[in-house]
């Protein structure tokens, strides 16, 4: 009784001879009056596209984990040689509107006078919203090509100056910082939208 549907099938089955493996063509379905726009070739392409898309999603997530899209191990970089008197720790890859910072590490040799004068490329500063500098500079001076910050530091002790900001301009941004009387340190930053 329960399987009544199976026993009253009177229409001969075209597929039976071919067995399970026989592919069902569009023609086959039209024969039975099934008017749908099935397109197996397209469907298979779409499945392949979707599979590729899933793999791409995993790859994107993994790349994001290592910091390719900012905020990860790959996104930070250091720059600075002996001649510059500082080491710059900055984000190589960062994002529009996401908190970011720039750290200037000063070795003991750079702080011997108790006062540090740091010039930051003006064009670079215009592409971001500066939110704070730690420690606060004693004075700020605007020059045509740079902002010059003067910091009070403990003489002869290494220290770090931190600029907190959020990037506003998009794309590749070049910047440079320089200690008074030393060579500048240049760096490039990629800001994702």
């Amino acid at each position: 009784m329960g399987v009544a549907g199976a026993s009253v099938e009177e229409r001969p089955r075209e597929q039976e001879a071919g067995g399970e493996a026989q592919p069902v063509t569009e023609h086959d379905e039209h024969e039975h009056g099934l008017e749908i726009g099935q397109d197996i070739a397209f469907q298979r392409r779409m499945w392949r596209f979707q599979r590729a898309g899933w793999v791409a999603m995993v790859v994107v997530a993994l790349l994001a984990l290592i910091g390719l899209f900012g905020s990860g191990p790959l996104s930070r970089a250091r720059e600075g040689t002996a001649g510059t008197g500082l080491t710059l720790d900055y984000a190589r890859l960062t994002r529009h509107g996401a908190p970011d910072n720039l750290r200037v590490h000063l070795p003991a040799s750079s702080t011997s006078q108790g006062k540090v004068e740091l010039a930051v490329d003006r064009e670079y500063l215009e592409g971001l919203r500066l939110e704070g500098i730690v420690p606060e500079p004693e004075s700020t001076e605007g020059r045509p090509d740079a902002m010059v910050y003067v910091f009070q530091v403990q003489p002869g002790a290494p220290t770090t100056l931190t600029f907190e900001f959020t990037p506003e301009a998009l794309g590749l941004r070049a910047g440079s910082v320089r200690l008074k009387g030393r060579e500048p340190v240049s760096f490039t930053q990629l800001v994702y939208p």
Binding site: G2, V3, A4, G5, A6, V8, E9, E10, R13, Q15, E20, V24, E29, H32, L34, I36, G37, Q38, D39, I40, F42, Q43, M46, W47, F49, Q50, G53, W54, A56, M57, G97, P193
Partner: protein, 162 residues
């Protein structure tokens, strides 16, 4: 200008990502799916408005999103290629009571899904009673039962035809 570009970027990103996810992904929205959708909207919202709380911005975003939606629907009406690419195609997964296993697996539909739908729609008990099951373009499964008479379910037509 920003609002339009942002809205367009979000629109096309979502279009792509939901095509990649496949039509079955959100065909039947479970409680958890509903929660996921809420989280998506929260995540996207920030990027969409970008701190601009003005009404102008909100209106521009709505106009852009709706405009794109209409443009896309006009495009899919004119070109069947675009229609397939964006709206997908239906797929037969059960034929004459026989599940087409390879297709079902690829379309991420189980025989249980088909039977569940068959029970809901036609009171179907077994796969043999399904003439065709089709994954529609929306991702929903439609069921065509075998030779159903108007009196009721397939189970009742026990009298032989000839």
């Amino acid at each position: 200008m920003d609002s339009v570009l942002r809205a367009a970027a979000v629109y096309f990103f979502l279009l792509l990502i939901f095509r990649v996810a496949g039509k079955r992904t959100l065909a039947e929205v479970t409680t958890f799916d509903a929660v996921l959708l809420l989280i998506f909207s929260e995540a996207i919202q920030q990027a969409l408005i970008d701190g601009d709380q003005s009404m102008t911005n909100a209106f521009l975003i709505v106009v852009t999103l709706l405009g794109l939606d209409i443009a896309i629907s006009l495009l899919t009406m004119r070109s069947s290629k675009m229609d397939k690419a964006l709206n997908d195609v239906p797929l037969v997964i059960v034929q004459h009571g026989r599940p087409l296993e390879d297709r079902m697996r690829k379309a991420r539909v189980t025989p249980d899904d088909v039977l569940e739908r068959g029970r809901e729609l036609w009171g179907i008990r077994a796969m043999e009673q399904v003439e065709y099951a089709i994954v529609e373009r929306t991702g929903a499964i439609s069921i065509l039962p075998r030779r159903l008479d108007w009196a009721g379910t397939p189970e009742r037509r026990s009298a032989p035809a000839s």
